[in-house]
């Protein structure tokens, strides 16, 4: 029963255009593999090569130690079942007839169905929840129902390996999860190998134990979801800025797109903006400026602090200090270095204590170095100064030094202020 698929230097092209450009990988019994990648990356083509529907131009696919061309189709169909996208079926077979066709590789040409065949068909229909549809013609089914019938047919094939080409594409949310749970339980209880092409990165991340990220016909990254679904990989392959957040239930990385338009820096203000925050005071502004394509850095933030978490998610350059420790001179210096190289600085309405007083001093440093400084201060500094007046004194010096005070952390106002400051220079 153990199934081993080995792909070596697989190359495939449609009429001179190379689609797969040297893919090598190994799939073992019980694997649950997701193949992801942008449109045109060759995911489906790869799957069709695996299923022997397309023939590689070069390279080898070896299944159970035997190269694909040497397999008889009928035998291969007892090892691999493919669930295609099943867009067109020309004739109105009933659901039961459709599913029963999954037994084709098992039944002799003029042989009749044995009890085992009937059981396999019924079980497949029950598992996929289409038993109640069995008398219906497939023309009368919805897209989702049809996709479940295709899965049922593949299950009726009773193969140790299922290949699925975007099995959830026509399904609504409920059925997507149901189908993936079914695949997971088949994988866990019966050690059925699952290889599926997925469009939905988050579902792929949650259900697949291993991901292959295809890009330009090559494997761009592979490994467990945490290794593959990183901000950098997604940016490289999908050219989209995303946030990676752990799923609240199982901690699997979830991909949250930020902006589709911004693959590069904001065109109007290309210098980096340094943000001084803490305690969540800077988070909304960081997210918004980030979304608009500004290049950002942050400091000094305590590890575990909510502003720190935001900066990390956004992948910002920042200076970190250990939690519950005052800002050390070394971190302070690093902060000043970032400020020196920044085009502008924003001071968020932080609560000021002895530990983070250097952050306000850093803002003063920005003024001294003629960096435009925007200070967000709504209700006055007095309410958030826990240093016995030292903080408030520094704020006064900031005001005298020409810092621009804004009442709210409003991104539009900040951007406008930045433009006027930078054009004023």
């Amino acid at each position: 029963m153990g199934l081993q698929i080995e792909v070596k230097d697989l190359i495939f092209g449609y009429g001179g255009e190379t689609v797969l450009d040297g893919i090598s990988l190994t799939i073992g019994q019980g694997d649950f593999i997701g193949i992801i990648g942008p449109n045109g990356s060759g995911k489906s083509t790869f799957l069709k090569n695996l299923a022997a529907i397309l023939t590689p131009a070069a390279g080898e696919i070896i299944i159970d130690g035997k190269a694909l061309p040497r397999w008889r189709r009928r035998e291969l169909a007892r090892r691999l079942a493919l669930v295609g996208q099943g867009a067109a079926a020309g004739f109105n077979f009933t659901v039961e007839e459709m599913v029963a066709m999954g037994r084709y590789p098992h039944v002799q040409r003029f042989g009749s169905f044995k009890p085992t065949d009937h059981r396999a068909v019924e079980r497949a229909m029950h598992l996929t929840g289409c038993y109640h549809l069995r008398e219906r013609g497939i023309f009368s089914l919805s897209g989702g129902e049809r996709q479940r019938v295709l899965l049922a047919r593949a299950l009726a094939q009773e193969t140790p390996c299922l290949l699925l080409d975007e099995p959830t594409s026509f399904l609504d949310l409920g059925y997507q999860v149901e189908l993936l749970e079914l695949l997971r339980s088949l994988n866990q209880r019966e050690r059925i190998t699952v290889v599926m092409v997925m469009h939905d990165l988050n579902l792929a991340s949650r259900y697949c134990r291993k991901l292959f990220l295809l890009y330009g016909g090559r494997i761009h990254a592979c490994g467990d979801p945490e290794e593959v679904l990183t901000r950098e990989h997604i940016l490289e392959v999908y050219r989209t800025e995303v946030l990676i957040e752990p799923h609240p239930l199982d901690g699997k990385p979830q991909v949250i797109p930020v902006s589709t338009a911004q693959a590069g820096p904001n065109q109007n203000f290309q210098q980096r903006i340094h943000i001084i925050g803490g305690g969540g005071s800077a988070s909304p502004l960081m997210k918004e400026l980030f979304a608009r394509g500004f290049s950002l850095s942050a400091g000094v933030l305590s590890v575990g602090d909510s502003d720190w978490a935001t900066a990390r998610r956004l992948g910002l350059t920042m200076v970190e200090e250990a939690p519950f420790y005052p800002i050390s001179p070394q971190r302070h210096r690093q902060n000043l270095e970032l400020i020196e190289k920044a085009g502008a600085v924003v001071l968020a309405p932080v609560y000021i204590g002895p530990g983070n007083l250097p952050n306000v001093e850093a803002a003063l440093f920005a003024l001294q170095r003629k960096r435009p400084l925007i200070v967000i201060d709504a209700a006055g500094v007095a309410g958030r100064d826990f240093t016995g007046g030292q903080g408030a004194a520094l704020y006064r010096r900031l005001e005298e030094g020409g810092a621009l005070f804004l009442p709210r952390p409003d991104a539009d106002a900040v951007i406008e202020a930045l433009f006027s400051a930078s054009s004023g220079q």
Binding site: A51, A77, G84, N92, M101, Y104
Partner: protein, 339 residues
């Protein structure tokens, strides 16, 4: 479902027997059923009177071979149409789509043009058959791309070859006016005047072709799901398509070379049977065989009796009966029957 399909097949068989029996009795000359039965019984026992009565000659030499030929031609066209519609996944495909019939017509035309002396009821079908095979070969070569037979290229090749051959036939008719009439009549098609020898001529092709189609009926079912699905279910798709194409073409060639072009049977009967019995070719082929036979025998009986003793070309009757029936079926089963 199984029981229903079995019942329908038996029902079709009964109807086929009844229609053929009735057809033997009906004609320009009415012969009572009792006398018909007596004549057939005597013939089966092998006692043929040395100087037969006209009724005996009419039954044994004219009607029986014509009815049986009608049945086999109808069955051939309908079975071939079923296969082509499935294979090419095209509801408008029929035995004439892929140029086999035009090849047959050109073969017949060439025989009449170049060997008018030798052209006879027997040599013309042979020439037609050769033409059909030549057309099939051409379409096959034109339609195959890198060892495969993509549906689209086969269809296109069929259309192109058909048009080219039709033009060649027209040219032939223009160049040889003396034969134009013969060619024209041959193209119009008909079942009269063929007799037993031509019936025996087509049966081997029909039987061989049908055997291949039945053997591959389950594989064709899977190909209907889409070629990729069929491949993944273990069907050797290209081989299967090749065999089906050749078998259906052989059947068509046999039928067309004997009867000329009789339209509508190969287009409509498969659709009607698919509505009746479903798309599973294991049942669809037998149904199409019986349905096509019944349809053509009925149409031909109509053609030879309605203005007796004169005749109407049977192609006119198949079109007249076929088109409205088809529309009726389509309207009744619109939602169920979508291509």
């Amino acid at each position: 479902m199984r029981g229903r399909r079995f019942f329908l097949l038996v029902l079709l068989l009964v109807i086929a027997a009844a229609v053929m029996l009735a057809a033997v009795g009906i004609g320009a000359v009415m012969i009572p059923l009792r006398e018909v039965a007596g004549i057939i019984w005597n013939a089966l026992r092998g006692s043929i009177s040395p100087s037969p009565l006209p009724a005996e000659t009419i039954i044994l030499q004219v009607r029986l071979p014509r009815i049986l030929l009608g049945f086999f031609i109808g069955a051939s066209l309908s079975v071939a149409g079923t296969a082509f519609q499935g294979l090419l996944q095209n509801p408008l495909a029929d035995p004439y789509t892929i140029g086999v019939s035009s090849g047959a017509a050109l073969g017949a035309t060439a025989a009449m043009l170049f060997f008018p002396k030798a052209a006879s009821t027997f040599t013309i079908p042979l020439a037609a058959f050769a033409g059909a095979l030549l057309a099939l070969f051409t379409v096959y070569r034109l339609g195959s791309v890198g060892g495969r037979l993509p549906v689209v290229t086969v269809l296109l090749a069929g259309v192109v070859v058909s048009s080219f051959l039709s033009a060649a036939i027209s040219l032939g008719m223009l160049l040889a006016r003396e034969q134009m009439r013969n060619i024209f009549f041959w193209l119009a098609g008909g079942l009269g005047q063929k007799g037993w020898p031509l019936l025996l001529f087509i049966i081997p092709y029909f039987a061989a072709g049908l055997a291949v189609l039945l053997y591959l009926s389950r594989d064709l079912n899977l190909i209907l799901l889409g070629e990729e699905d069929a491949l993944s279910l273990g069907v050797e798709v290209e081989q299967t398509k090749r065999w089906i194409l050749v078998a259906a073409s052989l059947i068509t060639a046999g039928a067309v070379s004997v009867s000329g072009m009789i339209g509508f049977v190969g287009l409509i009967v498969p659709h009607a049977m698919r509505i009746l019995i479903g798309p599973d070719h294991r049942y669809l082929y037998p149904a199409a065989l019986l349905g096509g036979g019944i349809f053509l025998v009925a149409a031909d009986t109509f053609a030879r009796t309605v203005i007796a003793p004169a005749e109407i070309p049977v192609g006119i009757i198949t079109a007249f009966l076929g088109a409205p029936f088809f529309i009726y079926l389509l309207r009744r089963h619109r939602e169920k029957y979508r291509f």
